[in-house]
């Protein structure tokens, strides 16, 4: 997409444009390699300079806890992004899973007179099952029906939105057993809040999946060089479907933790999470064209987004201006990434 003046031979054009880009890689690339991992810290210090409360211990813990939720969901989004896919249904499926699992819990509690622990287990199972179904739908539509992931998940986004709001007529579902809320959110292990414990567990699992398993490694190839996957004779469609299912199961985990935090099934829990997780992943260095990213990008990106909104809240910047700033930062961060890694 570079500019060309007059007609030149293809080789000359390509060589010229490549040369120009390599220069950019030199300066901006270095800048970027240093800046990216440090960006959340720079952001915290920057906000802390203007609003000292940002740096208070409670707020730091608050930030880490907030990030835990976004991190789990960004991890889910990352799995799909690696395969050159995209999941727009993530947010609405969080809402749907939240309402569905909460309803299951209240029903089990009510009819059978079962204990809270049984109800909590049933709700968790129902949530994971719903997640599996969303992933299966997305996977089948993308892999076998060959629908572009954007369109496929745009459709499942609408479907999840429709089901999520009609399950409970758009009302929040209360009456979740205490056991679920305690194990899901309020408990501490060795003084560490549960949400952070879950985030660490998810992080370890994600890292092992993406780095040390054949299936996980194959996601990178599916994204960066799909033709190679075909030529190598891999079950490309099955792998792609597995990516969507794993991603949706992880989304279900995130939805369950969020439900425990809210102590209710909330039909608007997911809200803008689809786009927020995409933004977080991309800011963290995941490529929309697949094959690049992993655990670190999910951590950096989710911290970045959380700190940004936390800092703006404490700086008492109003919600409308926050939208404006968030949009500009997303574009700016990705532009920096692109210039830093300029590829042909």
């Amino acid at each position: 997409m570079g500019e060309v003046d007059g007609i030149r031979s293809p080789a000359v054009v390509l060589a010229a444009s490549r040369g120009r880009r390599e220069n950019l890689v030199g300066v901006a690339g270095l800048f970027y390699r240093v800046l990216l991992p440090a960006s959340p810290i720079i952001l915290v210090l920057g906000f802390g300079f203007f609003v000292p409360t940002v740096l208070s211990l409670e707020n730091i813990i608050n930030i880490i806890q907030q990030t835990a939720f976004l991190f789990v969901l960004t991890g889910a989004q990352t799995i799909v992004l690696l395969t050159r896919g995209l999941d727009l249904s993530l947010g609405p499926s969080v809402s749907m899973i939240s309402v569905g699992s909460a309803l299951t819990m209240t029903v089990v509690l009510g009819t059978n007179g079962a204990s809270g622990a049984v109800a909590a287990l049933a709700g968790t199972a129902a949530g994971l099952l719903l997640g599996f179904l969303v992933g299966l739908f997305n996977g089948v539509v993308v892999a076998w029906l060959r629908v572009n992931p954007f369109v496929a998940t745009l459709a499942s986004m609408n479907i999840c939105l429709g089901i999520g709001t009609s399950l409970s007529d758009g009302h929040p579902v209360f009456g979740i057993p205490e056991e679920f809320n305690v194990v899901g959110y309020r408990m501490h292990v060795l003084g560490i809040p549960m949400s952070i414990v879950y985030a660490i567990a998810v992080g370890v699992a994600l890292h092992i999946l993406l780095q040390y398993t054949v299936v996980g490694r194959s996601f990178y190839v599916l994204g960066s060089n799909p033709r190679a996957a075909i030529v190598a004779g891999w079950p490309r469609r099955r792998l792609l479907a597995v990516a969507y299912i794993l991603s949706a199961l992880l989304t279900a985990v995130g939805a369950l933790i969020l439900t425990a935090r809210a102590a209710s099934g909330a039909p608007n829990l997911g809200g803008g999470l689809s786009l927020q997780t995409i933004a977080a992943a991309v800011i963290g260095g995941v490529s929309l064209t697949g094959g690049r990213g992993g655990l670190s990008s999910a951590i950096i990106g989710s911290f970045f987004i959380t700190i940004l909104s936390n800092g703006m809240n404490l700086a008492e910047i109003d919600g409308y201006t926050q939208m404006l700033v968030m949009g500009a930062i997303v574009i700016f961060a990705v532009a920096l990434d692109r210039i830093g890694r300029m590829e042909v």
Partner: protein, 337 residues
């Protein structure tokens, strides 16, 4: 692997190759019209037909813009926000000019339309420059501008509708019937025809197809791709702005939230169901217009059947998947890439 899968689904693929999504839409449209007319007399009532036509007009214009961006391989998530910005700016300028400055209503409308479309154009320019020059994926750029523009619109109005539009703009245009049809229909037909003409008869149209179809070939043959990409984003935002103006004129006030993200999603759905390829290079205005008519009729039918808006989403989602699946299965192994 490739041959194995091709042998496994020959009937499905052959069927969809023959029908194609484009061939299916008129068929489904006729089916809905016949079915609804038999079971629901309100469906063919004049007011309902006008209602469908109005919604089709709003959607068709926006979807044509969306299609242009998709042809160059992009995507515009900010169309809804651009329409809302246009709506608010137009209402503010018109109200300010007539009530504050005492300008003649006709001039106020002209000023409002001009300034608001310019603001929409600025959104498109921002989208285009960031996508083409900074090489940020358009999905992310327009996600960013969606947030930015919505923020600006909300700051301007605090989310409160802007009243005080000249009456002539509402009764003489937005809610008016011209020669027996709602005025927006004429605007929509003109816009779709204009985009069709540009696509078919002008160098601009050919170059836009070339950039999306084979970017490298376009680059090598000296087409200023950057310029054309920016231009398509500007055109898309302007068309979204026209939709915003039409809705403003019908509602009688400037709205910060023209149906939320619904309009944006529908515009993408209409473009995609209308056979526009998300990988660029393919898309025809007249078919996108037809699929806008199909989607508007479908949602209207669902409303009349008292299927509430939540379940309507489920149906819309399934329709999009089925339509696109038929399309991509029909294209056979080209989709495996």
């Amino acid at each position: 692997m490739i041959t194995a899968t091709m042998h496994r689904q020959p009937i499905l693929e052959r069927l969809s190759a023959r029908l194609g999504v484009v061939g299916l839409i008129p068929f489904l449209l006729v089916l809905i019209v016949i079915g609804m007319s038999l079971f629901e007399p309100r469906f063919y009532g004049l007011s309902n037909v006008f209602n469908i036509l109005r919604n089709t007009s709003f959607l068709a214009i926006m979807a044509c813009g969306q299609m242009l961006v998709m042809i160059v391989g992009g995507m515009d998530l900010s169309v809804g926000a651009a329409a809302a910005l246009t709506s608010v700016v137009a209402a503010k300028v018109m109200a300010g000019a007539t009530e504050g400055l005492g300008v003649d209503p006709g001039l106020a409308v002209a000023l409002g339309v001009g300034i608001s479309l310019a603001s929409a154009g600025a959104v498109g320019l921002l989208n285009g420059l960031c996508s083409a020059l900074l090489r940020v994926p358009s999905l992310i750029v327009t996600l960013g501008t969606l947030s930015i523009v919505s923020g600006v619109t909300l700051i301007m109005t605090s989310g409160i509708p802007v009243y005080g539009l000249p009456q002539g703009f509402i009764t003489g245009f937005g809610r008016a019937l011209w020669w027996g049809l709602p005025a927006p229909v004429y605007v929509a037909v003109a816009m779709v025809a204009a985009v069709w003409l540009v696509q078919r008869k002008t160098v601009l149209g050919t170059h836009i197809y070339a950039i999306g179809g084979n970017p490298l070939a376009a680059l090598v043959s000296g087409i200023p791709a950057t310029f054309y990409i920016v231009l398509t984003f500007v055109l898309c935002a302007l068309l979204a702005g026209v939709t915003g103006l039409l809705i403003t004129a019908q509602m009688g006030s400037g709205q910060t939230n023209l149906g939320g993200d619904r309009l944006m999603l529908l515009s993408i759905a209409a473009a995609v169901i209308g056979g526009t390829s998300l990988r660029g290079g393919i898309g025809r205005a007249e078919i996108v217009g037809l699929s806008a008519l199909f989607l508007s009729t479908l949602t209207n039918a669902l409303n009349l059947l008292r299927i509430d808006s939540k379940k309507e989403l489920v149906v819309l989602g399934l329709v999009v998947v089925v339509a696109v699946a038929i399309d991509s299965l029909g294209r056979g192994k080209a989709a495996v890439e």
